[in-house]
Subunit: 418 residues, 2 copies
């Protein structure tokens, strides 16, 4: 069989299996996930041996030490993967939830019931833990899942999948509900993106080029995560201690992630008082500052910011800084340069806090808190399957519920339409 | 300017205007809609004159009498359009609703707030009332809207839009938030579908070929409405009076619409008792029956059904009929041949009713009620912008809320991530 035929068959079988998944009880799904965790922990040696093949070929291909570290599995990391499976088992099941049940004038009872999406395709890069994590979330939400990992981790991914699907087979759950594509040619991705009859949603997890490639070539809806150009606006009424703590945390605690701070906006009324202080603190933490003219008046060591800096997602210890006349100017800047990811205001003014919450329509809007909280775990979703920066279906960090949809349910007693 | 440049400009201006729309108060939006209704009613003569040009050119092009009737506007129909605008004004505003507000262990308050999608593109066919209806729903939900109607109605659509945007301008609301494309070349649709930087959602309303064209050529997410192959399953415990009333209503009341019945499934235990009765009733109403062998045993006048009949969306007085062994067989048939639109069971058995509701994952699932209730107005949405038969973002009849999304909102007091 050609790659195209194989992928088509995997997708059709996943669609069939999704019908079984959708009917599984919460208890059956949780039991499956706990057994998967046990099986992974029990078979760690086999996974580590297969992971060794990936590491060996990674070294031959000259992967960086950081890449090899992301790829590497040992007993501790496998225990962490097993623990994550148990955590997903412990999450509430979104499927079957009924909301908005109401009586219509003709006595029909109408509401909505939450149901699985069907078949979800995940296209991801190096880390093999995604294989188990993403599979667990999709299966818990009653879906089938097709995983296409990176070529660097193919042996690890297949070893993990073999253990998980063996548990499913033992429980009479169709193993086709969890498929890892056994080849890593780009042709495989393209074919996967054509299976719109069988796959309901594609989630790409990786760099911007992967995400662009997937969304430009997919006939299936894609939930995209583009860049995070996150802003903090320090208002005229900000508490400087809180503002400093929040800016430092947002920029420095983990600069390489999408919810890290990239542009600092400062109200002109507090420019003279706040800028020297925050500039000294940030430079003391090795942060390179790039400011507009008004900012550099109070922080002469900052380099001049260019138009490009307002668009930049640095993902390193660089911060663009700008003085704004008022909150309208801050919001205009965010609307013009932002990426709809995450923005925070630091303020003591009730009205401005409420206005910022209301008028800034990024996926996560915070008052007096670090942008680093824009994360499924931190926001209370239990686990995160990704972050959407486009508005359809999901916007912001996505949890189990985002892997479901709703149908209308209607209880009648013989009603007909007049 | 080329068509491509003009459309790009319309889209960019709509994006800008959407930022203003998103901040309008509910009162301001409602006031705008009521004034639009008044202006339309007051300027009916002008709309009717422009509509006359469309009718004239339609007659020259040889449009059918039915098409010309759909196109025609008179005082009564314009009054109905104005009434629909007032109804949208009276609907609750979904924007700003806050749900799921919860305190996290670190005392952050986290919830979700409903916000507009941004810019919505509607691509539709003949009826000029859609221009006002769709615009009203999009604007009420705080969005900008770009409308691309059919060439048959271009004068009517532009006349309606001119009246509505004049009201917006009078109220200092940017008229760019309501754009009707002033040309009807297909090139215009293609260009519109490329404006993914400015348009958030495309909703095609029309025949299957329009919908396929749009979804195959769009870089913007599309909410699709494919066909409605709706089923009624008459269970072994069905009350025959209710079953007959429901089957007749679902098939006969308005056979040309997507929520009309296309396939009747009958439990084998009641085949002998129910089929002669329902066949006589339906044939008395001029319905052509196409049955499997078991069905025709009790309804010899029915013609033999072929595999194609199980897939058919007739949209006329034809009904495919099949006897099934049990509920599993009914559900299997629906999974195999259905279009995920609407299915109903007629039963007196509590357990089967609940199982049907739980296990049939079409967009609308009913117990003891006609499939014809799968409609936004009937289900209580207030007004309907379309019906989605795909599962992302919306599934089933779509109302105002489906023209919005949610963002995370977080109230803190200086919290940072540890």
């Amino acid at each position: 069989m050609s790659i195209a035929e194989q992928i088509r068959q995997i997708a059709v079988e996943a669609r069939q299996a999704s019908l079984v998944m959708a009917r599984l009880s919460t208890a059956a799904k949780n039991d499956m996930l706990v057994r998967m965790a046990d099986a992974l922990a029990g078979d760690a040696a086999r996974v580590i041996a297969e992971n060794g093949k990936d590491l060996e070929s990674g070294r031959r291909k000259g992967l960086s030490a950081a890449m090899l570290d992301r790829l590497m599995l040992d007993d501790k990391r496998i225990a962490a993967i097993a623990a994550a499976l148990r955590e997903v088992a412990a999450l509430p099941d979104p499927v079957g939830e009924i909301t908005g049940m109401r009586k219509r004038p003709n006595d029909l009872m109408v509401g909505k019931m939450r149901i699985p999406l069907g078949v979800i395709g995940i296209i991801y890069e190096a880390r093999p833990n995604v294989t188990a994590d993403a599979a667990a979330l999709c299966l818990k939400a009653g879906n089938a899942v097709i995983l296409r990992g990176g070529s660097e981790a193919i042996h690890s991914n297949l070893a993990i999948a073999a253990i998980l699907t063996r548990v499913m087979a033992d429980l009479n759950i169709p193993p086709a509900a969890l498929a890892v594509l056994p080849f890593t040619e780009r042709e495989g991705v393209l074919e996967m993106l054509k299976q719109e009859e069988s796959i309901d949603l594609i989630i790409p997890r990786g760099g911007e080029s992967l995400i662009r490639f997937v969304s430009e070539n997919s006939r299936i809806p894609v939930i995209k995560h583009y860049k995070g150009v996150c802003h903090v606006f320090v208002d005229a009424t900000a508490d400087f201690d809180k503002a400093e703590k929040i800016v430092v945390n947002a920029k420095v605690q983990r600069p390489g992630v999408c919810n890290a701070l990239e542009t600092l906006l400062i109200h002109k009324d507090v420019a003279a008082a706040f800028i020297p202080r925050i500039a000294a603190t940030l430079e003391g933490l090795q942060v390179e500052l790039r400011g507009d003219e008004a900012f550099r008046r109070y922080a002469p060591s900052a380099t001049p910011a260019t138009e490009e800096d307002w668009h930049a997602e640095y993902l390193e210890l660089i911060l663009a800084c700008r003085v704004v006349d008022d909150m309208d100017a801050a919001i205009d800047h965010i609307n013009r340069y932002g990426s709809l990811h995450t923005e925070a205001i630091v303020t003591s003014d009730y009205g401005r806090a409420q206005r910022f919450i209301r008028e800034v329509n990024s996926s996560c809007v915070l008052v007096n808190a670090s942008t680093r909280f824009a994360d499924g775990g931190q926001l209370g979703l239990g686990a995160e399957i990704g972050i959407s920066t486009t508005k359809l279906h999901s916007f912001g960090p996505m949890g189990l519920e985002d892997l479901t949809t709703t149908k209308f349910i209607v209880y009648g007693d013989g009603q007909v339409r007049v």
